[in-house]
């Protein structure tokens, strides 16, 4: 057995929901993470001390709100390795971020005959916006296929790249099977063969891996706060200044304008140009508290913790009859255990596990194109985070054995 204690990286006591439910084994952090008290406090503190509409109102309280929002942007941008914090545009999350890029850059740059390259791993959030953009522009959607262990097939990806490629949109980490994209390799290939916009879906990257945007070499990096200990409803997209300059505003209204004439308008500067309307300042402040919490844990340690749990789980599950685990080996996989168990449908598994206080996700994980390629309609997925420990894994294994027992054929 791997040398490992029961301890989580982050104390359960820091997370009110986990503290209140000591028997709960929450193994669905890839869907959304639990929130530490410090995040809840930060949100309450904003509303209790600094609540006013940011960027509006010439009084001290409004300035406090503006400052809090501004500081949150700096903290989060810094955490993700963007020195120029104004290149971080807040959105509701990754989904809205991808729609932003597809609209703000895609609509003015992708034309008939062009090609958009995505992969078979993509979450619908990084699939459908490009599929629909291609459809409306008369462009061609190309899908990079996968290796036998569900990693992006880099040779196939390379074969799709050409001067016609206008966008390459690819996930940093797959939510469905955990595969980690070798970003440096992808950047090298894309830059060598195209002048395409390179967009990374960081919804599962930012929470689980150290991210250094300035060193990555991609054009846009999208993420969701709720998957990295932050509140729901806040996330964002970091872009290079050069690429932001190429974008057109996609939502119109307050805050994003500079001057509104009767028949036309001019636009505010980055990042405000792409943040129309009253911003979600309170949740941005909450997310800043979340990244401070993660920074204190250290993202390298977060990654190491998840790898250790994955390896522990693999050992505990080794030899289980009829178990198929998807995705690459632990060193190329995030803390995701996506699997099927022969004769037990994932949906039934989830119900049985739920009765044992083990929360897992069963379904297509918003990745139907991937499920088609796996030849299944659904998998069961357990996913780990900073508060997960080996007891969670033990409970999972115990419940899986129980499920197998319930579904075992009765000998005639």
């Amino acid at each position: 057995m791997t040398d490992m204690t029961h301890t989580a990286l982050a104390p359960r006591g820091d997370f009110p929901l986990l503290a209140a439910n000591p028997l709960l084994h929450y193994l669905d952090s890839a869907a959304t993470s639990q929130k530490p008290q410090t995040v809840l406090d930060a949100i309450t503190h904003f509303y209790g001390t600094a609540n006013a509409n940011p960027h509006r109102g010439a009084y001290a309280l409004a300035a406090a709100a503006t400052d809090a929002y501004h500081e949150a942007r700096e903290t989060i941008a810094q955490f993700l390795g963007a020195r120029d914090s104004d290149t971080l545009v807040f959105t509701r999350g990754t989904t809205e971020a991808m729609n932003l890029v597809a609209n703000a850059w895609g609509r003015t740059h992708v034309q008939a005959g062009d090609e958009i390259v995505i992969t078979a791993l993509e979450h619908h959030a990084n699939f459908v916006p490009w599929q629909q953009l291609a459809k409306s522009a008369g462009a061609q959607l190309r899908i990079a296929e996968l290796t036998d262990d569900q990693q992006v097939d880099l040779d196939h990806l390379a074969s799709l790249l050409s001067a016609r490629t206008k966008v390459v949109a690819i996930t940093h980490v797959s939510n469905a099977v955990g595969s980690i994209t070798p970003v440096a390799e992808v950047v090298r290939l894309v830059r060598a063969h195209t002048s395409a916009l390179l967009v990374l879906d960081g919804a599962q990257g930012a929470p689980h891996l150290p991210v250094d945007f300035d060193a990555l070499g991609v054009d846009f990096y999208a993420f969701s706060g709720h998957k990295l200990l932050g509140p729901m409803g806040i996330g964002g997209v970091i872009g290079t200044r050069a690429r932001w300059e190429e974008c057109q505003p996609w939502q119109f209204g307050g805050d994003m304008i500079e001057w509104v004439h009767d028949m036309d308008s001019t636009w505010n500067v980055l990042p405000h140009r792409f943040e129309a309307g009253t911003p979600n300042a309170a949740d941005a402040v909450g997310l800043a508290a979340a990244v401070r919490y993660l920074r204190a844990l250290d993202m390298t340690a977060v990654r190491a913790h998840e790898v250790a749990l994955l390896e522990y789980a693999q050992e505990r599950l080794a030899g289980m009859d009829g178990l198929i685990v998807y995705g690459p080996p632990a060193d190329a996989r995030s803390g995701v255990l996506s699997f099927t168990l022969e004769d037990v449908h994932p949906h039934d598994l989830a119900t049985i596990l739920d009765q044992h206080n083990v929360c897992i996700r069963a379904g297509h994980h918003c990745a139907q194109p991937l499920m088609r390629r796996l030849g299944t309609s659904a998998t069961a997925r357990a996913s780990f985070y900073v508060y997960s420990d080996t007891r969670d894994v033990d409970a999972l294994v115990h419940a899986l054995v129980e499920a197998q027992r319930i579904f075992a054929p009765v000998d005639a």
């Binding site: 449908h345 994932p346 579904f407």
Partner: protein, 153 residues
Amino acid sequence: MSDLQELYQSVILDHNRKPRNFGPLDDASGSAEGKNPLCGDQVEVAVRLDGDTLSAVKFTGSGCAISKASASLMTAAVTGKSRAEVDVLFERFHALVTGRLADAEITKESLGQLVVFSSVSRFPIRVKCASLAWHTLRAALENGDASIAVSTE
């Protein structure tokens, strides 16, 4: 019996493993396809009507044990019934799995083998699994030979 044992009792597991009336139906007078987009369950129900009598019902598709067993037990329960009788059974089954059927009516006499689904109401997330085939049957009956998509969402 624990809730789980009741949900996954032997009749349900047996119909999951060996679904009855599974496969395509020759000379179908109507069919419909039902999908639960949430979990990917998919079922196609084909019916043959002789006058007002449902002389044959078969299904194909894939899904969890609850949805498969429900489709299987449904085909057995409705074959030979009139449309009106099927409607009554549908309503009773739906009331059963959504927890709206009076205890006194949850009996083998009133429900036949469908009584094995009585614990589904304690698993609200699974109600759709149990009712997918029934919604699809109803669509197949209402739509003649048109193949339509039913969603329980």
